[in-house]
């Protein structure tokens, strides 16, 4: 025994998806932000927007490149480690994944090059249009991936024949019950994540004084966006929670570490859930609040884990804590936005060193919240891959041994621990460079003067030696 291919395969998938999701979490938001900046530049003609947009486009290019190489890994995981899952679900989910790669491909092939290198080579409306289409492309990608993921959480529109899923109604498959909520909550989460990165970098630029004007413009703009987005995100999270209560009550009970179904349920602020003894230790709770938050009424019944067979319960402690980390970080974000407004109304937002440092310190906060939220929803889906229908234990590739998966897991760990720090460092160098030197349309990552090659036989051709 010893090494369990199931546990190791789960760890491996978790490892490669967690690192991968950091990039979409950033690039989805950044693509929309760049499109917004390009829109400002297009309509107002103020060069500051051009500078800010070019600055972020340079960073976007690095993040997007890393997103592509870490994304290539993902579809192969379904085949190598989850072949029984893939066999059972292929008829339903494979076209959604294929549409994602077709969309991503069209986007990458079509418009990214123009956005990155085409500023002086195509008419201005075309460049703005490219920025919009890249942003739209990242949203389409999110659409298909989250449709797939949501279908695994709340499967719909299928029939089962000999243990395999067959599509009955594509609209029901794609727009399955949790999809609209998950899509909204995830995309807004990505936007907020990017927003805090932009604010952190803006604060840095203001403190360095070298590019303070750009920094101030970024900070003002992003603060405005986050003032809407952070409360919206909390509202969407609440709706998503209600949806989970309706369609995945066992998951919700695990998130709340709630063992007995009851009305007037308290809300556990802290607990050490004990899965075996079906109870919580070191409990700190607020009476009535659980029912109030989850059902919007103190009379509402909150499901309890004991309603569900032990074999159908998610690991309670993991989701209990990851959910609280996510919510806690959300409240910290809300506090930061409120504090920023307070300083702004006093007129000291750009001069308060302490707060600017805090903003820079808080720049990765969205990533932490995204990972915590992702762990909540994915671990909360356990022990199922297709919720309530297909067990994770029956999804893994039967021919794999624990040792084999251990080797591949170590391989992915080693490689990701090399490339992510290097990639992060590249982006940091781009931040250090600042938005000042941006005149040439070069963003990095690709050729400087690509779209118009020298005419054949032109005099400036020289031997390649």
């Amino acid at each position: 025994m010893g090494l369990d291919p199931l546990i190791l395969s789960r760890l491996q998938f978790g490892w490669v998806i967690a690192w991968h999701i950091l990039l979409p979490a950033f690039t989805v938001g950044l693509a929309s932000y760049i499109a917004l900046l390009e829109g400002h530049y297009f309509f107002t003609d103020k060069p500051i927007y051009f500078h800010i947009s070019s600055f972020w486009t340079r960073i976007f290019a690095i993040a997007f490149g890393m997103g592509v190489v870490s994304g290539v890994v993902m579809p192969f995981q379904f085949g190598t480690n989850w072949s029984r899952f893939s066999d059972a679900t292929a008829n339903v989910i494979s076209p959604l994944l294929a549409y994602e790669s077709l969309t991503a491909f069209s986007l990458e092939a079509g418009f990214l090059g123009v956005l990155l290198f085409g500023r002086h080579l195509v008419p201005r409306p075309a460049h703005f249009a490219a920025a919009l289409l890249v942003a739209a492309g990242t949203l389409f990608s999110s659409f298909w991936i989250l449709a797939t993921n949501s279908w695994m959480q709340t499967p719909a529109g299928y029939k089962l024949v000999n243990g395999r899923f067959f599509p009955v109604d594509w609209i029901a498959v794609i727009f399955n019950p949790s999809f609209p909520y998950r899509l909204a909550h995830t995309v807004i989460g990505f936007y907020v994540t990017t927003g805090f990165v932009v604010m952190g970098v803006a604060a840095l630029l203001i403190r360095w004084r070298s590019h303070a004007e750009e920094g101030k413009a970024m900070l003002t703009m992003t603060l405005g966006l986050l003032t809407v987005l952070v409360p919206l995100q909390i509202f969407l999270g609440d709706l998503h929670g209600l949806n989970t209560l309706k369609y995945q009550p066992a998951k919700l009970a695990a998130i709340e570490a709630h063992w007995n179904a009851e009305s007037h349920a308290p809300l556990a602020l802290f607990a050490l859930p004990d899965q075996d003894k079906e109870t919580n230790h070191a409990l700190v709770e607020v009476p009535e609040l659980g029912s109030l938050i989850l059902t919007h009424s103190t009379e509402g019944v909150v499901p309890g884990l004991k309603q569900f067979p032990k074999a159908n319960r998610a690991p309670v402690a993991v989701v209990f804590f990851s959910f609280r980390i996510m919510v806690g970080l959300g409240l910290v974000m809300l506090a930061l936005v409120a504090l920023a407004w307070l300083l702004r109304l006093r007129g000291t937002l750009f001069t308060n060193e302490w707060f600017l440092k805090l903003l820079t310190l808080a720049s990765p906060i969205g990533f932490a919240a995204v990972i915590a939220g992702w762990i909540t929803t994915e671990v909360g889906r356990q022990p199922w891959t297709v919720y309530g229908v297909l067990r994770t234990a029956q999804s893994v590739t039967p021919s794999l041994t624990g040792g084999e998966v251990l080797v591949s897991l170590l391989g992915y760990m080693l490689v990701y621990l090399v490339i992510y720090p290097v990639g992060g460092w590249m982006m940091w160098k781009a931040v250090l460079k600042g938005p000042g030197d941006i005149q040439a349309p070069v963003a990095g990552g690709r050729p400087a003067a690509p779209v118009v090659p020298p005419p054949q036989g032109s005099p400036d051709r020289r031997p390649a030696s």
Binding site: A90, I419, V422, R461, S465
Partner: protein
């Protein structure tokens, strides 16, 4: 309605485009290890810099396309080639990032140079291993692979791995003849000949080896009346090899297209050997196909998007036509 033939064509086209397109840039990656100076390495990398990531995206399309159109093949083949796939993915990560990082990370330029050359070599070898293992077939029970993860490593698959390295080097060298000038081009001509000799020998050996290990393939090629229709395939291969050998001496554009023709014929040869099986000895294309609703649902969008992708790909090659120059690369 049954559209298995349509998906067979789409997937065959996708895999072929991947092999040729990423083939030549992986070949450049391997030849990169033999370059003599930093300038040469820069030129070689620049000759593929604008297009490599588009080339690689065909791999993702191929993977998700196989999953969507012939999922049974996907779920049997991938576990069977678990380690070659792992090596390929990790190698491709390093190789892909080398494009970005070689120019940004001057202090570790040597590391990224090695990552590029070895990444390309390992990725190619792993793909060749997958090809060899695929031709040999896998032990299957029900709908699952039941062998061992190391079953795929056999003398035959190691040989096809090495053969594909020769083949991709050939494509890469011919691409370099097209894109380079001066001393780099001269050496590319030389490298193309070495790679061609090795590739031609490998193709010949594989052609004789496969009917030897697989009675079905022997029957396919040598039984009457098949042999009457099929004899032009080896003959054409021989003719293209001869033309390519001559073209490497003096032509600029032709070698690359002859090399692509050589790959087409080898591809055709494999298709003739295995058709209509997509999991050799076990499942045909029809057995492995996803449900008709699935295939139709995906075909609707694919038939719309794929032509756009192909046209754009062609356009980007057109844009970057002409000789590669030192200053048109990464900065």
């Amino acid at each position: 309605m049954n559209i298995v033939p349509l998906w067979t064509l789409i997937l065959a086209l996708g895999v072929f485009l991947y092999v040729v397109l990423d083939g030549f840039d992986l070949g450049i990656g391997m030849l990169y290890g033999f370059a003599r100076s930093r300038d040469e390495r820069g030129l070689m990398m620049n000759s593929i810099a604008p297009i490599w990531d588009g080339n690689e995206t065909w791999l993702v399309l191929g993977g998700t396309g196989l999953f969507a159109a012939f999922p049974l093949a996907f779920v049997i083949i991938l576990p069977a080639v678990y380690f070659p796939i792992l090596v390929m993915l990790l190698a491709l990560i390093f190789r892909g990032l080398a494009f970005e990082f070689r120019f940004r990370d001057q202090e570790h330029r040597g590391f990224w140079d090695h990552a590029f050359a070895y990444g390309s070599g390992f990725a190619t070898f792993a793909q060749g291993l997958v090809l060899g293992a695929f031709i040999q077939g896998f032990p299957v029970q029900g709908r699952q692979f039941v062998g061992d993860a190391f079953d795929c490593i056999t003398p035959f698959s190691v040989f096809t791995g090495l053969a594909l390295m020769c083949g991709y080097c050939l494509l890469g060298a011919c691409w370099l003849i097209l894109k380079a000038e001066g001393a780099l081009q001269v050496r590319a001509r030389h490298q193309a000949r070495i790679a061609l000799a090795a590739t031609a020998a490998a193709v010949a050996i594989v052609s004789l080896w496969t009917p030897f290990i697989d009675a079905d393939i022997a029957r396919r090629w040598f039984s009457w009346p098949n042999i009457a229709f099929l004899w032009p395939v080896p003959l054409a291969t021989l003719a293209v090899t001869a033309l390519l050998w001559r073209a490497t001496a003096k032509n600029t554009v032709r070698p690359f297209f002859y090399a692509v023709a050589l790959f087409s014929l080898s591809y055709l040869g494999i298709a003739i050997s295995l058709f209509p099986m997509i999991v050799p000895h076990h499942f045909s294309l029809y057995d492995a196909a996803s449900s008709p609703q699935t295939q139709i649902f995906l075909a609707l969008g694919t038939l719309f998007l794929l032509p756009i992708i192909i046209v754009y790909t062609g356009w980007s090659y057109w844009v970057f036509r002409g000789k590669v120059r030192a200053d048109t690369g990464y900065h």
